[in-house]
Amino acid sequence: MKCIIVDDEASARAIMQELCRTIPEMEVVAEFPNALEALKYVKDHPVDLIFLDIHMPKLTGVDFIETVTDPPQIVLSTSDKEFAIEAYGYEFILDYLVKPISPERFHKCAIKIRNFFEKEIAARNGTAILEEEDLYINIDRRLIKLKFGDIQLIEAKGDYIEIQTRDERYRVHSTLKKIKEKLPESKFLQIHRSYIINFSQIVDIQDNSVLIERNVIPISRSNRPELMQRLNLL
């Protein structure tokens, strides 16, 4: 996967280079201190991915996004979340990283990148990745099958999680982190440290809460941008 880094700070570029080095399939083919040079480069040298700083003098990252023709996938980096949110509405923005970028956060981003390109390759080859349709939970030594589509939300309750479906609420000894790994990212989203929701079950969103059937679920500030980005907003 060919990528370039665009950031006016040499120290930020060096850090990004070092982070990319930990991902074997990522090849940093060039880096640029300004968006103009990067624009010229991508015109003649197609790349798969751009790590793009938003806050740059003269031509900003947002200007770059609006100028570049046939854009590759882009991961934004910024010291201000607000700037990232402004640009996050574009379909080719894969993720945004708030500087200084922690290795853990970068790793999560790398997983997102990998998933995206795997899906794209599969789609190109006509072999779309089939996602599991259901999940088995252990209740009193009985394995109960839940269809992903029936799950409305999952709430963390101490050492347990509670899975709410249309008709039942199941209490399972597990954690949100564990169940999150089993759920398809395309359908579920963590919107608060105690809640994962099924995206398709949202009734409405008001201020800092989501309504799912009759349950009002809080949205944490840090999860709000991702939620907003995934909405098909008119």
Partner: protein
């Protein structure tokens, strides 16, 4: 006690890659003094809009050097500058001084 700049973040990123650590220190030793001079000159010129942009850039370095409180102060200062408020300039200058000293020490 006031927080001190450190290389914990850089060591975490490098995972023991000394070549990167060296490269990074060289960069920051060149980049930071330039930004600090730019900051001082722009403050003297009273160009607060431009000053906010420089503070924004420096802010990232404070985070890199483990100055959590300094980073938070820079966020506030940058925001204040957009409204023409420079009341945090002395505190910010003090932070810059500590980074400058640190950079000289590790040179």
């Amino acid at each position: 006690m006031a927080e001190r700049p450190n290389l914990d973040y850089i060591k975490e990123i490098s995972g023991g890659n000394e070549e990167f650590e060296k490269k990074f220190l060289n960069i920051i030793q060149t980049e930071f003094p330039k930004e600090m001079n730019e900051y001082i000159q722009t403050l003297e010129a009273n160009d607060l809009e431009e000053l906010a942009k420089i503070v924004h850039k420096i802010k990232h370095k404070l985070g890199i050097l483990g100055l959590t409180d300094g980073y938070k102060l820079a966020i506030k200062y940058e925001e204040d500058l957009k409204y023409g408020n420079i009341k945090l300039k002395d505190e910010f200058r003090e932070i810059l001084r500590s980074v400058e000293e640190f950079i000289l020490k590790i040179a």
